[in-house]
C-alpha cells in the first residue's frame, strides 16, 4: 500500500506531535516554539500569521487552551490536519496521566506518594501565580493591571459568576479603557 504525499505529510506531523506531547510539561503552549519550527519552518504548512492566529483564537474561545493545536492543524490541512495535530498532542499525555493517576491513587498511603503531593502543592500554587504574573507584565498599563487585580480579589472573596467578570472585561476593553 502506498500513501499519498498528503497523507504521509500528516503521518509525519502526527508522529512529531506524539513526541511533543510527552515534552509538554506546563501544557501544550510550552512546546509551541517546537510546533512553530516544524509547521512553519520545516514543513511550510503554515505562515507565521496563521500560527499566531491559532493561539489567539483558542485564547478568545472558551475551553482548554490546548485547542489551539486543532486550529493550527485545521488551517494547515483541514480536518485531516486537525485530527493529526490534536490526537497527536493528546494521546500520549492523557494515557500517561491516566496511568499515573491510577498508580498514585492505589498507593495513596505510601510515604513517597504523600511526600510527592506535599512537596508539589506549594509549587503548584506558585505556578498559578506565575501564569497570572506573566499574563499581566506582558501587557503593560495601570488600567490593565487594575482590572487583573480587581478580578483576582472578586474571585478570592466573592461568588460572583466568572462569566460576568469576563463580560465586564470585554466591555472595558471595547470602551478602550485597558
Amino acid at each position: 500500500m502506498t500513501l499519498s504525499p498528503e497523507a504521509s505529510t500528516w503521518l509525519v506531523v502526527f508522529g512529531h506531535f506524539l513526541v511533543l506531547s510527552l515534552l509538554a510539561v506546563g501544557g501544550a503552549i510550552s512546546v509551541a516554539p517546537e510546533m512553530h519550527r516544524l509547521m512553519v519552518g520545516q514543513l511550510g504548512l503554515l505562515t507565521d500569521a496563521q500560527f499566531n492566529a491559532s493561539i489567539a483564537i483558542a485564547q478568545a474561545a472558551p475551553g482548554p487552551n490546548v485547542l489551539f493545536v486543532a486550529v493550527m492543524g485545521y488551517q494547515a490541512g483541514g480536518w485531516m490536519g486537525a485530527t493529526a495535530t490534536l490526537l497527536g498532542i493528546m494521546l500520549p499525555s492523557t494515557t500517561l496521566a491516566y496511568a499515573a493517576a491510577r498508580w498514585g491513587h492505589a498507593r495513596a498511603h505510601w510515604r513517597g506518594v504523600q511526600a510527592f503531593k506535599a512537596g508539589m502543592t506549594p509549587i503548584t500554587i506558585a505556578l498559578l501565580l506565575v501564569t497570572g504574573w506573566i499574563l499581566t507584565v506582558d501587557t503593560p498599563g495601570v488600567a490593565h493591571f487594575a482590572v487583573t487585580a480587581l478580578a483576582a480579589i472578586l474571585v478570592w472573596h466573592t461568588r460572583i459568576h466568572m462569566l460576568w467578570m469576563i463580560l465586564a472585561g470585554a466591555v472595558v476593553g471595547v470602551l478602550g479603557w485597558v
Binding site: S30, I57, A61, G119, P122, I123, L129, V171
Partner: protein, 202 residues
C-alpha cells in the same frame, strides 16, 4: 478535613460529561479558575486539598493541566468511562466553538472593538488565575512541610519561572525534587515521633 463530610458524587458518566462541558464553556482564557469553583464550591465533588493534589500531578505530567485534571477526576468516580466522559466534556463542544471562531477570526481580527474586547478579557482571565491561587493557598496549612517551608519553595518557583524565566522543564524537576525530599523527611520524622513501625519504608 471538615469539608469532606459534605462531599458529593456525580450521578453518572453523563453527569460528568455535561458538567465538564458547562464548566469548559465558562472558561475564557483558561478553565482552571472555573474548574476550581465548580468542582470544589458548587458541585463539591472534591475538596480544595484534593483539587490541589490532582492539579499538582497534572502539572508535573506533560499535557494540558486541566485535561489531565478532568481525566483524573472522571476516573476517580467511574473508572475509564468517567475519564472519557470528563475529558470528552471538556473538549468536544469547545472544539466545535473554536473551529467556528477560526472561520470568523480571519474577518474580524483587525476590528479594533474585537481586539479591545479580547484585551479586556485577557486582563480578567489573568486575575481569575491569581484569585484561584489565593483561594487554594489555605490548603497549605495542612501541609506536613509547614507553612514557612511551603512559602520558601513557592517563592523560589516564582522567582525562577516568572522573574528569571527559566524553562519549566528544568525548574519543576529541580525545585520539585528538593521539595519532595524535604516533605519525605518531615513525614518520616513525624511518623517516627508518633511511634510508627520503622519497617514502613515505602
Amino acid at each position: 478535613m471538615t469539608e469532606s463530610a459534605a462531599l458529593r458524587r456525580p450521578a453518572s458518566s453523563a453527569d460528568l460529561f455535561v458538567s465538564f462541558t458547562w464548566l469548559a464553556l465558562q472558561g475564557f482564557g483558561g478553565v482552571l479558575a472555573v474548574a476550581q469553583r465548580v468542582l470544589c464550591d458548587d458541585k463539591r465533588w472534591v475538596t480544595k486539598e484534593e483539587f490541589l493534589e490532582l492539579l499538582a500531578v497534572g502539572q508535573v505530567l506533560p499535557g494540558p493541566n486541566v485535561c489531565n485534571l478532568a481525566l483524573m477526576i472522571g476516573d476517580r468516580f467511574f473508572g475509564w468511562r468517567g475519564a472519557f466522559a470528563a475529558l470528552g466534556g471538556m473538549m468536544a463542544v469547545p472544539l466545535v466553538i473554536v473551529m467556528a471562531l477560526a472561520v470568523l477570526y480571519v474577518e474580524f481580527a483587525a476590528n479594533p472593538f474585537v481586539a479591545g474586547a479580547l484585551r479586556g478579557m485577557g486582563a480578567v482571565a489573568a486575575g481569575l488565575i491569581v484569585g484561584t491561587a489565593l483561594k487554594l493557598a489555605p490548603a497549605l496549612l495542612h501541609n506536613p512541610m509547614g507553612v514557612p517551608t511551603c512559602a520558601a519553595f513557592g517563592a523560589a518557583t516564582f522567582v525562577l519561572v516568572a522573574l528569571l524565566r527559566y524553562p519549566l522543564v528544568w525548574v519543576l524537576p529541580g525545585v520539585g525534587a528538593a521539595a519532595c525530599t524535604v516533605a519525605w523527611l518531615r513525614i518520616r520524622s513525624k511518623a517516627v515521633a508518633e511511634g510508627a513501625p520503622p519497617a514502613d519504608m515505602s
